[in-house]
């Protein structure tokens, strides 16, 4: 029984971390229209930076890495977020300056591969392909809990971060900032011919999304205890993209729904397929990726807006005017008078004068 509870709590951690990832990806892709396939590189960088600021100084014998220190939790998470934002700032100059559409996507993919190879082959940075291990879990000795209560405690940490991300994105979407970002997504020349600095707006969205990815990476490494290049390939990045496409692009609840559908439901449930005949465990692992790719493809064909489409923005003030509950400012006519010829209305007005 406790196995199932433990497993459910594990899924809970993944769900909330992928919520955060989905919300961050929604900010850059769903709102600002940046076609970034390298999003998981920022997760990885955040994870590595959170790890090296937790592990303490490197003893080059077991694993070698840069910047080894040990700072109090939750500072490593913030370092991870800052690392994600700073990497975004640097790479943003490559991704956002002139590149658009599929060219942008291709370049981000290439850069993600370059980063992956650089980190993997340079053992001095983050211990190469062997990666970092033995990252202590946050506040383990402080809260001093048995495995299952500690797991629940970690779900709480992840849920807190995800909710914070959700509240943040909710405000962004409803503010003029969200409107400008969506304008850039729809047609950036319209944005710039109405005085908006497209590069700066996209860059700031990209950096904030990078910070969210870095924070999610920090949570992941603190949960898993280790981080190696085999855990942040293009496939992992694709899970986040597929989750947003399936859940609903430019919809925050859609991002959360996608985090449930793809990494939790599809990925985990396919793991329960038992090996049969010629199908061994490795084949089943391949099935998982086929399943995710296929579902994403079907959505792109038949429901590109995702399960939950982008919500239509209404303004209460204007809706009251449209419902005839308030006169149109300026001329004092009600909507029906304005639309159905104002003859009757202007006669009535003349009569009252």
């Amino acid at each position: 029984m406790s196995h199932y509870l433990y497993y459910a709590l594990t899924l809970g951690v993944y769900f909330f971390v992928y919520c955060l990832l989905g919300l961050g990806y929604n900010l850059q892709y769903g709102l600002a229209g940046i076609n970034n396939v390298a999003n998981y590189s920022f997760v990885a960088f955040g994870a590595y930076m959170a790890a090296v600021t937790t592990l303490g100084p490197s003893n080059n014998y077991l694993q070698s890495y840069i910047l080894g220190t040990s700072i109090a939790w939750p500072l490593p998470l913030l370092v991870g977020a800052a690392a994600g934002a700073l990497t975004s700032l640097v790479l943003g100059f490559i991704f956002l300056w002139r590149l658009r559409h599929q060219y942008q996507a291709i370049v981000t993919l290439v850069v993600a591969q370059v980063i992956w190879l650089l980190v993997g082959n340079n053992t001095g940075i983050f211990n190469g392909y062997n990666g970092l291990a033995g990252v202590p879990q946050p506040l383990e000795s402080v809260v001093n809990l048995a495995p299952i209560p500690y797991e629940a405690f970690f779900v709480g940490i992840a849920a807190f971060c995800a909710l914070l991300g959700f509240a943040f994105m909710r405000r962004v979407v409803r503010s003029p900032l969200g409107r400008v970002l969506r304008t850039i997504r729809e047609d950036e020349s319209v944005a710039s011919c109405f005085g908006r600095n497209v590069f700066r707006q996209q860059m700031s969205a990209f950096m904030v999304a990078g910070a969210m990815a870095g924070l999610a990476g920090g949570l992941l490494v603190e949960y898993l205890g280790s981080w190696t290049p085999s855990g942040w390939t293009v496939y992992e990045g694709f899970v986040v993209i597929a989750a947003l496409i399936i859940g609903g692009t430019a919809n925050n609840i859609g991002a959360a729904l996608g985090a449930f559908i793809v990494p939790v439901a599809i990925y985990e449930l396919t793991g329960f397929i038992p090996p049969f005949g010629p199908v061994n465990a490795q084949t089943i692992d391949a099935f998982r990726w086929i399943a995710i790719g296929l579902v994403a493809l079907l959505f792109l064909w038949f429901r590109p807006q995702g399960v939950l489409p982008e919500p239509r923005r209404h303004f209460r003030l204007v809706d009251r005017i449209l419902a005839g509950q308030e006169p149109i400012p300026g001329n004092g006519l009600s909507l029906s008078e304005a639309v159905h010829g104002s003859d009757a209305a202007s006669d009535a007005k003349d009569a009252t004068q």
Partner: protein
């Protein structure tokens, strides 16, 4: 059309000095100079490929000139980006309508307003009260304009479902949200039926009467004759002539470049030509 006030202030609103722009080997604009004065609609006409839209892009800052200068209200804006020029009050519309398809008509209007409060991550969170106030003011102005342009019923519809003519109306209304000092209109009547073109022209005329300065690119010469004074004629990337439509109609050079014929100069006013022009006015199809 031109008020006494506009006559009195002789300073041009915008001034292009010797602008040139090449795309590869094509010299789209060559050594073009023009001026547009406040309170007027300055027409820009010429055959397709004459360089009108490129010149407009150079004025708006969407393209950088190879040489030459652009002065806006006497200030050199040649090295300023389009978004910087927009903030100075120089707003353009596009030859092909550019609605923000997956945003509502009302949101399209709000993007035209350029007070820009609450548009950075910090301001969106810190100055909520201030941007709410500004947004409310913009909403009221948007509703006024939507009503004026007969789009109020479409307020909460996505802009992508609008007809071509409605998109033209929205584009003009959106540009007015910015309260531009100078409005650059690139064929605002293109692709709409003649009735709606007249309606749009009425809007443009009325806006001008209210003091709005504009530069207008248009092919339909009767509309140009009705709305624009002065009119600048372009051909092959250069400014050929300028003056009122009546004056231009008598110029052999203009008739030659624009209509490809020189006979009966002066006898046939340019704007009432009944023969098919080399370049058919749009809206005929």
């Amino acid at each position: 059309m031109s008020s006494d006030l506009a006559e009195a202030s002789a300073a041009p609103l915008i001034q292009a000095v010797g602008l040139s722009k090449s795309f590869g080997g094509v010299r789209a604009v060559q050594n073009c100079s023009l001026e547009a004065y406040p309170g007027k609609i300055t027409g820009l006409i010429g055959p397709n490929g004459a360089g009108k839209s490129t010149l407009l892009a150079l004025l708006a800052g969407a393209e950088r000139p190879d040489s030459g200068k652009v002065l806006f209200e006497g200030r050199d804006v040649t090295r300023r980006h389009d978004w910087q020029r927009a903030r100075l009050g120089l707003v353009r519309t596009f030859q092909v309508s550019r609605p923000l398809g997956h945003m509502t008509v009302l949101e399209n209007m709000l993007i035209g307003a350029m007070d820009m409060s609450g548009e950075t991550f910090t301001k969106a969170f810190v100055n909520r009260k201030q941007w709410k106030e500004n947004e409310e003011r913009d909403l009221i102005r948007a509703v006024e304009l939507l009503e004026r342009f007969d789009l109020l019923q479409l307020t909460n519809d996505y802009a992508e479902i609008l007809s071509g003519g409605q998109m033209r109306l929205l584009e003009l209304a959106r540009a007015l949200m910015a309260n531009p000092k100078l409005l650059l209109l690139d064929e605002p009547f293109a692709g709409v039926n003649p009735t709606l073109a007249q309606e749009l022209a009425d809007h443009v005329e009325q806006l001008n009467r209210e003091g709005q300065s504009m530069i207008l690119i248009e092919h339909e010469l009767n509309l140009v004759g009705r709305l624009c004074d002065p009119v600048i004629v372009m051909a092959n990337g250069s400014v050929l002539a300028s003056g009122s439509m009546d004056e231009l109609g008598k110029s052999a050079e203009v008739l030659d470049a624009y209509l490809g014929r020189t006979e009966r100069v002066g006898a046939t006013p340019l704007v009432t030509t009944s023969e098919p022009e080399r370049e058919a006015p749009h809206g005929d199809a």
